[in-house]
C-alpha cells in the first residue's frame, strides 16, 4: 500500500506572521548589536566599518573614577528603588484589589499617573518642590523621585496577579484553621510574589536608566550613570559610551535572569 502524502498548502498568513516577528526582533536587537560593534571597535571615534576588536573602551570605562562612581551610585539607587517600590507598590496593589476603598477606579488611575506624565515634568516638578521645601538635592530625594516613577510598574504587575487570583485558595486555608494573618503569609504572599518581583525588575531598570528625572535632581560629583554618560557625550563621542551602554545592558539583563532563577517570573507573569 502506498502512503498518501498530504502536501501542506502554502499558508500566507503564517508566512506573514513569521516575517513580521522576524522584522520586529531585528528592529529590537539591531541597536544592541550596533552598540556592541562600536564598543569593540578600537577607533577613537565612532565609525563604520569597524577596523578590529579591542577592549580598550571597556578598560577606559572601568578605569575612570567618574564612570565607576556613577555606576555604583546608579546601582545603589536602583537597588533602593527596587526594595521601596516593591513594598509601596505591593501594598498599594493589595489595598486597591482587596480593600473596599471608595473611589477605587480614581485611586488606581491616580497611582498609575506617573506612567502617563512625561518624566521630564515629574523631574521639574520635584526639583521645584524640593527647592521650595528647602530639602536641596540629597541622594534620598533622588531615590524617592525614582521610586515615584517606578511604583506604578509594581502596582500594575501585582494587580495583574491579584486579578487572576483564585480566592478559594485563601478560603481553603482559612477553613483549615489559618487565621487571616497566616493566610496572608502562607498563601497570599507566596502566590503574588512573582508578580511583585516582576514589577520590581521593571522598577530597577526604570531607575537604573532614568535620565529625565535624574537630570534635575543630581548634584555635581553625585551624578548617576545616565547623566554622566550624557555629559560625557557632549564633549567626547568615543567607544567608552558604547562600552558603558554594554555594561548597563548586561547588568540589567543579569538582574532579570537572577530574579527569574530565584522566583521563576515567567511561570506566573506574562512579561
Amino acid at each position: 500500500m502506498k502512503a498518501v502524502l498530504n502536501k501542506r498548502p502554502f499558508d500566507a498568513g503564517h508566512a506573514a506572521y513569521v516575517t513580521l516577528n522576524g522584522l520586529l526582533l531585528v528592529f529590537l536587537l539591531a541597536p544592541i548589536a550596533i552598540v556592541l560593534v562600536f564598543a569593540l571597535n578600537p577607533m577613537p571615534y565612532i565609525s563604520f566599518p569597524p577596523v578590529g576588536v579591542s577592549l580598550r573602551w571597556f578598560e577606559k570605562f572601568f578605569a575612570s573614577a567618574e564612570f565607576m562612581n556613577a555606576l555604583w551610585l546608579s546601582l545603589w539607587i536602583a537597588g533602593c528603588v527596587l526594595v521601596l517600590s516593591i513594598l509601596i507598590g505591593g501594598g498599594c496593589a493589595l489595598a486597591l484589589a482587596r480593600g473596599s476603598l471608595p473611589g477605587r477606579p480614581f485611586l488606581t488611575a491616580f497611582f498609575m499617573s506617573p506612567l502617563m506624565l512625561p518624566a521630564i515634568l515629574t523631574g521639574l516638578a520635584l526639583f521645584q518642590a524640593y527647592l521650595l521645601a528647602g530639602i536641596g538635592r540629597p541622594v534620598w530625594g533622588l531615590i524617592l523621585a525614582h521610586t515615584l516613577v517606578a511604583v506604578p510598574y509594581v502596582i500594575r504587575t501585582t494587580l495583574a496577579v491579584l486579578h487572576n487570583f483564585d480566592r478559594r485558595i485563601e478560603e481553603a486555608a482559612a477553613v483549615l484553621g489559618a487565621s487571616p494573618v497566616r493566610v496572608f503569609f502562607e498563601v497570599t504572599l507566596p502566590l503574588i510574589r512573582p508578580g511583585v518581583f516582576a514589577g520590581g525588575v521593571f522598577a530597577f531598570i526604570v531607575s537604573f536608566d532614568q535620565f529625565p528625572v535624574s537630570l534635575f535632581l543630581v548634584v555635581p560629583k553625585g551624578e548617576t550613570l545616565p547623566v554622566v554618560l550624557f555629559n560625557y557625550m557632549k564633549f567626547d563621542l568615543d567607544g567608552a559610551i558604547a562600552a558603558a551602554s554594554m555594561v548597563s545592558i548586561l547588568l540589567a539583563l543579569s538582574v532579570v535572569l537572577v530574579l527569574e532563577r530565584l522566583i521563576g517570573l515567567k511561570a506566573y507573569v506574562k512579561l
Binding site: I169, A172, V175, L176, G177, A178, R182
Partner: protein
Amino acid sequence: MTSAAIRLEQVTKTFDGRVVAVDAITLDIAAGEFFSLLGPSGCGKTTSLRMIAGFEHPDSGRVYVGGRDITDVPVHRRDMGMVFQSYALFPHRTVVENVAFGLRMREVPRADIERRVAAALAQVALTGLEDRKPSQLSGGQQQRVALARALVVEPPVLLCDEPLGALDRKLRQQMQFELKELQKRLGVTLVFVTHDQEEALAMSDRIAVMNKGRVEQVGSPAEIYEQPRTRFVADFIGEINILDEAGTARALRPEKIRLVTPDGARVAGRVETANYLGGSTLLRVRASDGSSMLVRETHAGERASRTPGDLVGLTWSDQDTVALEG
C-alpha cells in the same frame, strides 16, 4: 471520627442590600448524615453552605453545629473540612504539604503529621504522589488531594461545594461511589451542594431542594422523587407530566404510564419523538387535544420500541399521581 449535627435557624442573607440570596431558611442536618443542597444556580445553596463554613455572615438567624451557636465564630476556628469545585489546592505546595496544612495550623507534632498525612493519602489512593505539585496531577487526583486535605484534620463536618462538577462523567460516577463510601466509613456529617439532581439522588441520605433562596422540600431521595410537594420540585427532579385535574395540578412520572391500545385508554395520541436512552426510551406523545406527555418505555420486554408516528394509548392508575402545591 466524631460528627456533629448542623442547624440553620431562620437564616437570611442579602447581597448589596437588595438581592435576597437566602430567605429565612431553617434546616436540620443530623450527625453523620449525607445531606445535599440541590437546586439551580442562584437558588441560595452555595450561600447557605458558605454561611455554615463562615465565609458569609447571615443578616439574621443563627447557625449551630453540634448544638453550639457558631454564627459569630470566624472561619478558622470552626474546625470544618471543605472541598471546593475548583479544588483550591495550594499551587505552590506539594501534595504532602497541601494535606499537612491543616495539621500544621493546629500545631500537631511533626511525627504525628507525617503519620496522619500518609494515612490520609493512603485512604484516597494517592500514595506515591507525595512530592508532586498540584499542576502535575490529573483532575481526579487533585480532587483526591482536596479530599485528603479536608479529612486529615478529622473534622466533624465536611462541606462540599460541587466537588465533582469539574470531572468527566465516568470519573465523576466513580468518585460518587468513593465519596459516599468514605463518608459512611468515617461517619462524618457531609453537606453536599450540587445542581445535578442525579448526583443528589444517588448519594444523599436526605436532600433539600432549594429555589429562589427558599427550601422547597426536604426528604429522602425516594420521597423527593416520588412525592414531590411542589411543582418546582417535581419539575426539577427528573422528567414529569403535570396534569390538571379539576383545578389541582398533579404530577405523574413518565415511567408510571403504561402503553396500551388507543381505544379505551385515558389518552390517545401519536408518538412525536422517541429519545433512545439505552435502558429505556423516552417518548413524547402528542394527544388529540394538542397537549403532550412524556412516557418512559422500558426495554425489559421483547416488543419493539415505538417510533414517531405510531398511534398509542396511555393509561395510569390514580395512586401514581401526586397532588402539587403551587
